[in-house]
Amino acid sequence: MHEEKIKRLASMKKSAESGGGTERTEAQHSKGKLTARERIALLLDEGTFVELDKYVTHRSDDPTLPKFYGDGAVTGFGTIAGRQVFVFSYDFTVLGGSLGEMTGKKISKAMDHAMKVGCPIIGIVDSGGARIQEGVSSLDGYGDIFFHNAMASGVIPQITASIGPCAGGAVYSPAMTDFVIMVENIGQMFVTGPEVVKEVLSQEVSFEELGGARAHATKSGVAHFIAKNEYECFDKIKKLVSFLPQNNTEEPAIVETNDDPNRIDADIINKLPENPYQQYDMKDIIKSVVDNGDFFEIHELFAENILVGFARMGGRTVGIIANQPQYLAGALDINSSNKAARFIRFCDAFNISIVTLVDTPGYLPGTDQEHNGIIRNGSKLLFAYCEATVPKITCIIGKAYGGAYIAMGSKNLRADINYAWPSAEIAVLGPEAAITIIHRRELKNAPNAIETKKKLAKEYRDKFANPYIAAEKGIIDVVIDPMETRPMIIQALNALANKKEPRPWKKHGNINL
């Protein structure tokens, strides 16, 4: 009976779902990029996507600006592995994915919904930027999105996938989200593009070099992950989401991992070289200790001297932080302090326990570090550890000297359980440096300086470079047999599961940004 009306709905739907039209869709495909709806289909569970605001159009009366249903973004909700999420995906086929007043409203609305429901929000960015024709209304749209990002921060997980351009002020939204994943050769972010750079600074640089995935993953740290292609991008997002809770009132789900929590690894001690100056890969130790060797690394290519990422231990999601002796001998510096501090704060906001593995000789010296503010940035790491009230478990594997020892989840930063391997060396300074100070006179008068230095260093090492002095003072709770690292950490996690730790009331602290 109402056939006409049903027919009209069907044709409207078809029209809306064609985005900017077949020609523009083909253009998108020919660049090797998927459309907004295709991407959402890959991200969400089959058949679970409900699109909202499909027929929204812009309200501008600029005659040169055609109207398209959806106004350049596809928003709505669905599930990922059965868990509720909200998504928004810029539609590059509609006016270059530019953000106008209504586009902004759609996206803010999706973020509002996610906040009401308490579930993650995922944004797929592929946009030419602000819609010039809509003037201030566009900037208004961005401003509103930024506010929502800030409000949602620490309440629901926010993830951004950069699968296309994102320029100018628009980049600040992804920057405020918790995780950014960029697709190589397709995702690009920069505040000022190459043309302007050329004009103003006469510097020639390509889009990819300036703000491509690799640049942001290795140099700026803006990107937490790179994906080789769009499939990998969505797989990574799905995997990331599986580690997280829906919102800040929940804990991540405990998953059946079929890896015996009591599994001991007799071989683990062999991963640590006898010679404390020899490099090794901390990831080998992490993989041995976590469930099924599955370490989901974050910021893999940035500040490689520290490792951060998610894993499960006994089925519980944990945030792992560990020095990486393979790079800069595992020393701390500006970038690694920033990387780890932000990760700790994310884990703390979302009830994820923190496990820290320590092997660091100290902070990286030099004018580069000092003048760029290692003091300011290094303090962020200390602050973050102190602030966090989730269960914190630290295990000192090798060296832990001076301020870096303190910074890496030490007892006084209120880590709950502090373990140490028998190979742990906890000291104010490393042996070589220490003896030049303590035995300065003796060394000056020594007939054979090199031999004496060696002897004194060994004495120092034998006396101080062991965990027992700290253990005598209760700063290390247990010196453990390395092969038991995994069961010991899991037992601690289980014991601390219901941890509650009060903090003095404040609007928020003043972490040295």
Partner: protein, 170 residues
């Protein structure tokens, strides 16, 4: 959803129509309807009757692009969304040299017994970079493209797993 089986040319359309009773599902595969009766489910293992034949499956790996599984004891890879894959494959063609795979990965697990090439050298596709030993066999890992051997990521004696990155060639 469209599925493409291993190297077979045809695509199969598959979708779930509805659940008929407690353990049966009506599905449409390749244009025809079939009854799927669930006998046993686990997180990644299923025993079921498709029409009147018994099958058992174990899902080994599932990603956006493909599903690797063992069906009745035989390994099989199903590629999903094949139409989209065509589009994406164009992207890697467009990228061409330089972008895409700088990573030279190992096809087999093994131990590094010989590092043949030197980092920094210019290499041609097919040049031997490292030699791995596994099960008393020596297998050479060869350069997958021409370029500059930027870095060799493995050390002598190291253990390498399948698909591990062995070197970077740019």
């Amino acid at each position: 959803m469209e599925f493409k089986v291993d190297d077979l040319a045809e695509m199969l359309e598959g979708e779930v129509l509805r659940t008929t009773d407690n353990n049966s599902v009506l599905v449409k595969i390749g244009g025809k309807q079939h009854t799927l009766r669930l006998l046993k489910t686990g997180t990644s293992e299923f025993e079921f009757m498709l029409d009147n034949t018994f099958h058992f499956a174990k899902i080994l790996q599932s990603s956006s692009a493909e599903v690797k599984l063992m069906i009745d004891g035989q390994p099989m890879t199903l590629k999903k969304h094949s139409k989209l894959t065509e589009v994406l494959e164009k992207a890697s063609v467009l990228v061409g040299k330089g972008g895409g795979d700088r990573n030279l990965t190992s096809q087999i697990p093994g131990r590094v017994v010989n590092i043949v090439a030197k980092a920094g050298a210019e290499v041609k596709k097919g040049d031997v970079i490292v030699v791995l030993e596994s099960m008393k066999m020596q297998v050479a890992v060869k350069a997958h493209k021409d370029g500059n051997l930027k870095e060799i990521k493995v050390k002598q004696g190291a253990s390498v797993a399948r698909n591990d990155v062995v070197a970077i060639i740019e």
